[in-house]
Symmetry: C2
Subunit: 668 residues, 2 copies
């Protein structure tokens, strides 16, 4: 039997040396949880470091990502090629595979980006859902693995933790195991300052199996994990540990969390742990069992591969398509049909109703599409004929998240990172704030999650300012690598869906009106006009003197204003701007042509104007919001806030009169 | 004894008629929880509708704000003058005191804005903290009241609920009572779809007292509230109710949540409830006991007023100052001293360290200042010599929130709405997303909460992109009525604090660097330069040819670039822009002078460029971020992302060469 404690000490020493080498880092977790991870990797985890992305591998998420040297050291020791000893020496250096916090890199055994607390375990719950889903679709011979997440006190205090703990218990995700690094210390010091709950009791109330173990005793940890795997409920394994274990100066103190190490700490750790080797030198007696652990899933993988080869070819091909993230044949035709139907029917209907119809059609075409709306099934119209995914029915494709937006966002990230399902989740735009950090994480990781948002402006009317987004379009547009779509009608909505599905390197936000909006697109051929981000929807009848920019429900206002202006002899173009990010990517010449410098430029959007100057320039006018909304019928609100064709016309005429639209009061 | 059920039915009928009159609304809660609120108002709540803002009143928060007709009807019936029967008829109309969701209006008995679920109860927990704090400061004869919050299934599913439930239990907030309208129905239908927890057990684990009662039985509710008040722990009163009680068609169905009512519903309710009166007519036998309930706190209030009058005059004056929200004499002098000291010493230090020093000084000068940092006490340097507010020590002024940012934000809103304390809370800027919706609510309510944020850019270095804000300045600037400050040095930091404290009609965000930043202000007289929002920090030596805009840690970069440009014969001004919102409020002439059209304009900020066009125009250059950051030492990152004096100089020279800075690639 290998000396597990000595193997764990290899993690400890690597962590201490790497942190000293980098200048800073968080030593407490790698020191405290080294035994947990060593036991997990050597005696339970089904993985093969030689094939890190094998689809049926067990997933391990270090949710307390600040202690990143733990996973880097463990993955180096177990033989992930990307995490060579040279990379460990480059911990926290530019372009290292060992950045300050773990960053999504399945090739390196990093299943998700962690650091912002609570989200790693939420991702894990999403992964466990994806695993159940694929198991239901393909059978346990193709998909049958566990998701393990290491979690600290900090993660458990975040509200999102409760959201996903409740959901995991409710959904009886039996292949999910949380390993709680319970050391009673956070950055502020002893946890009694901020928490007095019995965590085991809390998890039991939520329907989890719980078990406790000595977190520095490999056999005790092993026994607890065995019990966890055997139980049909999700399991919460409480590992009693000492933070900073192995470095006497900081052990069991708050300094261990993120405090600086000094060279003497390494000496004292070496003395205490009887480790005689130089920094970054791992003796063969330790490396060998670690490398064996790194291949412990090899036999399973080979057997799995055989089962997959032996499977029905269609089933095999379908599984491979899913895990590669390829869309099925035929989905484009479904979208093309929808587009043609909308172009023909020219419906006036709520943007969110259109989105629901598109999702209906896509759900038939894309079996891996999984959707949900946190307690807004009816309002967002996105459940329809989908069955619910429940503890009893893993074939369901609609998740009842409950009123838990952040859980939804972060679970979707976990599903996308797991691969095999395409998550879509929709809520009111005003609640995107609740899941906002999950959107950021999807963008940072480059995950193809589609975040839907309805009820996108004062157009919701009487529910009032608490439910009326004003600042949200700007704040979503501010997130790098997030593509924000706000379609103006049903045809644009189909085009935007097509672009969102094609976007495999980052998330998309789909923003819809609640109120009915008319068809605005006259032409709807094979070309995807929205791909340009902004395009001339209605050209000026002569030499263009005015350019009106609008998105979503305000495009109709721009079109109405154009009619008036044209009637008054002002050749006016209307530019629909469904997607700023895509427009930024176009050639300068195209952008210049669309933007029309030298014309009177007015933008209209029922939101704050932040950023619109890039379309209208310093002398243009913005017609929109500069305050929060109000509770009143929606038509009255557009009048009240002056978002009307008359206001647009007035701005243009003043601009042409004075040579500039001088009142460019951009708000927000 | 009044007929409590008939009194409750008055709420039901008013709600049904008002919702029918408005065209929509959420009937389920007013119908289902009418008995709870009637019992609370008539037999427990200490309030006087004739003096709605009496400081020692009990607070009632309807956290499930969608059912707003409940609180409007109850407050109308109990005699709040602002909520006349005419206002109820204007439910959901423009400028009504009865908007779709309850909006903060203490004169109308609306203690906080609710609707976004989970935050009402979080506000309540903040109010209970403020009550404990004031009781400790002034004694129970001056402050001694309860906070009651009505809460539904939806609120309890939100993560923030768990955060504040844990904290309230931990802090033993005995004057806090949650009344759970437990009807097992949400918008999606029966709650079993999304939750299977025993809520009572969950609260007990968190240290709460729990008790159950029949939610349509006034005596049962009364008995439960009595037990709740008698218990030294916060209490969770589970009231078993039927949603939509009284309207047969929708009772106990999801349609009750927010579905449309039809006129027949009113007829059927009248028949069932034996209510014979026309819409908006309340018979005297019902109105009289309701109006008596509305004055049931009158005797207490008169007695309280006498105690206050009899109190030590200084203590009385101090209490009155606090509840009026007036700052104490002398605080300006403390700030002036700090400013003079910084101007003299010209320290190079982290922005967040400066903020900690300022808070230290202010904490001595402003006894009602209550601060906290969610498990970032050391990193944000804001605890220092303050004692912790704990279950045992209500004199403490530092709240250990634990890793619960959203709880902090929303509790601060509750404290500010309660009045008597000035809340300040700080976390890393990247975690402002977690509390973002609380910031929005503070802005919407116009509450003077000060939200602190440190670690404000890639300047944090090695912790990497998960902890490096990039999109946050833009997304905070997008929020109406939020004033965002990003000071460039210690002198500016003092000035910004002065402005934030003076801002009584909305929240302020204070954004600080983690890395040391040098002093940039040469002059620091009595005038507050930051009050202008943007000002010429370093004038051009001759006729200005270039204008450099910067904020925070990037001002030093602009100054360095200016030196080079001046040396090369390009007269260059540096404009420091600590606060966009204040700059927008300046006179056009001043703004034009600062902005310097016609000069080569470059803005530099280590963040996305969204919105900077309003300073630099379409032809200006922005030097900043267009992607997420990276993990590396901070100096390397500024080089790596090209945020350097050299880049600024290059942009200016190219612009002067070509007549425009053509590469205005604004990202984000």
């Amino acid at each position: 039997m290998p000396d597990y404690t000595r193997m764990a000490n290899a993690i400890r020493i690597l962590a201490v040396d790497s942190i000293l080498n980098a200048g800073d880092g968080h030593p407490g977790t790698p020191l405290g949880a080294a035994d947990i991870v060593t036991t997990l990797y050597t005696r339970h985890m089904k993985f093969d470091a030689a094939d890190p992305t094998w689809p049926d591998r067990d997933r391990f998420i270090q949710s307390n990502g600040h202690g990143s040297m733990l996973i880097y050291a463990a993955n180096h020791l177990s033989g992930f090629a990307k995490l060579s000893i040279e990379e460990l020496k480059r911990f926290r250096q530019l372009n290292s595979h060992c950045p300050g916090h773990p960053e999504y890199d399945p090739e390196a055994g990093i299943e998700t980006t962690t650091g912002p607390l609570g989200q790693g375990i939420a991702n894990a719950v999403g992964m466990a859902v994806a695993e159940e889903k694929l198991r239901a679709m393909f059978g346990p011979e193709i998909c049958n693995h566990y998701t393990y997440a290491l979690v600290g006190d900090g993660c458990l205090m975040e509200g999102i933790a409760q959201e996903v703990v409740e959901l995991a218990g409710h959904l009886k995700l039996g292949h999910l195991v949380f390993l709680f690094d319970s050391n009673h210390i956070t950055d502020d010091g002893e946890t009694y300052q901020a928490i007095s709950e019995d965590q085991a009791a809390r998890f039991r109330v939520a329907g989890w199996h719980t078990v406790e173990c000595g977190g520095h005793d490999p056999d005790s940890i092993d026994a607890a994990i065995r019990l966890a795997k055997a139980d049909p409920r999700p399991s919460f394994v409480i590992c009693h540990t000492e933070i900073g274990h192995g470095v006497p100066r900081i052990a069991n103190t708050r300094s261990a969390h993120g405090g600086k190490l000094v060279p003497e700490d390494a000496d004292e750790a070496r003395a205490l742990l009887e480790w005689e080797h130089a920094p970054f030198v791992i003796p063969e007696d330790v490396l060998k069992p670690w490398r064996e652990a790194g291949r412990r899933g090899n036999a399973s993988r080979v057997a799995w591969q055989k089962r997959l080869e032996a499977a029905d070819p269609e089933r095999k091909a379908e599984f491979e398509r899913l895990v590669l993230g390829k869309l099925p044949e035929g989905y484009e035709a479904v979208l093309a049909d929808r587009k043609a139907a909308y172009a023909e029917a020219r419906p006036t209907q709520p943007g969110v109703a259109t989105s629901g119809e598109i999702l209906d059609a896509l759900s038939d075409a894309i079996p891996e599409l999984v959707s949900g709306a946190p307690d807004l099934e009816a309002a967002t119209r996105h459940k329809r004929r989908l069955e619910a995914f429940t503890a009893e029915n893993r074939n369901g494709r609609y998740l009842h998240y409950g009123v838990r937006e952040f859980a939804m966002g972060s679970m979707m990230n976990g599903m996308a990172a797991h691969r095999g399902v395409i998550p879509f989740g929709i809520t009111f735009l005003v609640f995107s704030d609740y899941e906002r950090h999950a959107i950021r994480m999807a963008a940072l990781m480059g995950l193809p999650v589609i975040f839907g948002f309805s009820h996108d402006s004062i157009g919701i009317g009487r529910n009032g300012p608490t439910h009326q987004p004003v600042e949200y379009l700007a704040s979503l547009r501010a997130i790098p690598n997030l593509t924000v779509f706000r379609p103006a009608d049903a045809v644009e909505a189909v085009e935007c869906w097509e672009l969102a599905l094609a976007n495999r390197t980052g998330p998309s936000a789909m923003v819809y009106s609640r109120q009915p909006i008319p068809a605005v697109r006259a032409e709807a051929g094979a070309e995807n006009a929205c791909a340009l981000g902004a395009y001339v929807l209605a050209a000026a009848s002569g030499k263009r003197r005015a350019t009106l920019f609008a998105t979503g429900s305000e495009v109709q206002i721009a079109l109405a204003a154009r009619e008036t202006l044209e009637a008054q002899g002002v050749p006016t173009a209307v530019v629909s701007v469904p997607c700023w990010e895509r427009f930024e990517q176009q050639e300068p010449a195209y952008r210049a042509e669309v933007i029309g410098r030298g014309t009177a430029r007015v933008a209209v959007e029922a939101a704050v104007g932040l950023g619109w100057e890039r379309f209208i320039g310093e002398d243009g006018s913005f017609i929109g919001m500069s305050t929060f909304g109000a509770s009143a019928p929606e038509d009255e609100l557009f009048e009240h806030f002056g978002i009307t064709p008359e206001a647009v016309v007035g701005s243009v005429l003043r601009a042409l009169d004075t040579g500039s639209t001088a009142t460019a009061e951009l708000a927000g």
